[in-house]
């Protein structure tokens, strides 16, 4: 006990020091460590959340870019299709118009040909009729003036003259 006395150990002071330390411990724990550790945890969670979010955003952005590209390619393809189709259709129409025009031209030509044929036939008929009349007339005349050959000749000449 002499040692304790020499070291200055006094129960009252010991108790005061115990209380002091206990109060310090409690106050620091309750009002400093706990809130600080909590906020550290909170911040860590927030940061990791933020990192995760940014990663997700990046992935989404890439997806959107891919989608955009796909859409553009699709659109280009479609446009090409439309152009091709239009070209094809135009070609077809052109062909059709040409065909029609040819046909019409052919028809007109045919009609004209027929007309010409008809006219020719008519002309020939009328010529034949005229000739037969003339022949009958000539024959009659020949029959009338059979006597001399000169008249004969004359008649023929006249007939030819008439013919002319």
């Amino acid at each position: 006990m002499e040692l304790l006395e020499a070291l200055g150990i006094n129960l009252k002071i010991l108790f005061a020091q115990l209380v002091n330390f206990a109060v310090l411990l409690f106050v620091l724990w309750r009002f400093a460590y706990r809130p600080i550790l909590n906020i550290l945890k909170e911040r860590r969670e927030k940061v990791s959340q933020g990192v995760q979010d940014s990663k997700a955003a990046e992935i989404k952005l890439n997806e959107a870019k891919d989608k955009e590209k796909a859409v553009i390619i699709e659109a280009k393809k479609e446009a090409q299709n439309i152009i091709d189709e239009a070209k094809e259709r135009a070609e077809k129409k052109k062909q059709a118009i040409l065909d029609k025009a040819k046909e019409e031209v052919g028809q007109v030509i045919n009609a004209e040909k027929k007309k010409i044929q008809q006219e020719k036939a008519d002309t020939l008929k009328s010529i034949k009729a005229d000739i037969s009349g003339l022949v009958v007339l000539a024959v009659e005349r020949v029959m009338k003036e059979k006597a001399d050959s000169t008249t004969d000749k004359k008649i023929i000449k006249e007939a030819i003259k008439d013919l002319k």
Binding site: I13, N20, L25, L28, F31, A32, I36, L37, K46
Partner: protein, 246 residues
């Protein structure tokens, strides 16, 4: 000029019949200082911290990570951290307060004797003893909780065979010796530092004390750290009794 070195802290004044020693006074002052430093920024925490908040957070997070690295993460670290960190920060501030310039010159006159108002808190054996007792008692409580009371007792008192009995006695001595070794390590270092500082200052007041001051500074940090870490290790060992024995 005379050099008086007292092993016990000096009594400054008395309130009623309650003696206030210089170390007790300083332990109050330093506790208040610590409470101010930690509680004020902790009461206005922001998610985006300012400089001082960052500093406090860095300190606490670093200490917490260290505690986790020794005792393992989870609820154990969360329970033991406040005790260990308070011991560390209190001992550290108490030891570093010695280096406030001019404090040694402040004295009061009591009964015709000049008593210095300041004395390193950890050079009061009573204060160190209280911290050591807290450390050892908490260690025993942790051991009882983690091993169960019968197994805990069986560690010390075992009549199954002479060897185990002997080992039990050794264990008992070891636990008791912890009180002495833990407390006298801190007390001895700081008290010796005080005495050495006073002696050197008495012999050669200029420049010569500087290396001793630096040595003392190192001791101040290291001893505070050692005390807290030993407590942490004791508690950690006590909490792992079961897993080690089986």
């Amino acid at each position: 000029m005379e050099l008086n070195i007292s092993l016990s802290p000096e009594i400054l004044f008395q309130i009623g019949n309650f003696p206030i020693t210089n170390t007790l006074l300083w332990s109050f002052v330093l506790s208040s200082f610590l409470i101010l430093v930690f509680v004020i920024p902790a009461s206005r925490l922001k998610l985006v911290p300012g400089k001082f908040q960052s500093f406090i957070e860095m300190l606490i997070e670093g200490a917490y990570d260290f505690v986790e690295s020794i005792i393992g993460p989870g609820v154990k670290a969360r329970r033991v951290f406040p005790l260990v960190f308070t011991m560390f920060i209190f001992a550290l501030v108490a030891n570093l307060a010695v280096y406030i310039p001019g404090q040694a010159a402040v004295t009061i006159n009591r009964g015709g004797e000049a008593i210095s108002v300041f004395r390193a808190v950890m050079s009061d054996y009573g204060m160190v003893l209280i911290m050591t007792l807290i450390s050892v008692i908490v260690t025993q409580i942790v051991a009882i909780i983690s091993a169960g009371p019968w197994k805990y007792l069986g560690k010390f008192i075992n009549f199954r065979n002479p060897l185990k009995f002997f080992l039990g006695v050794m264990e008992l001595i070891g636990e008791t010796a912890k009180i002495v070794s833990l407390s006298f390590r801190l007390f001895g270092n700081i008290f010796a530092g005080e005495v050495l500082g006073a002696v050197v200052l008495f012999l050669a007041p200029f420049f010569v004390p500087l290396p001793f001051l630096f040595l003392g500074l190192l001791t101040a940090v290291v001893q505070a750290f050692v005390f807290a870490v030993l407590t942490l290790v004791f508690i950690s060992m006590a909490s792992e009794i079961e897993t080690v024995e089986e």
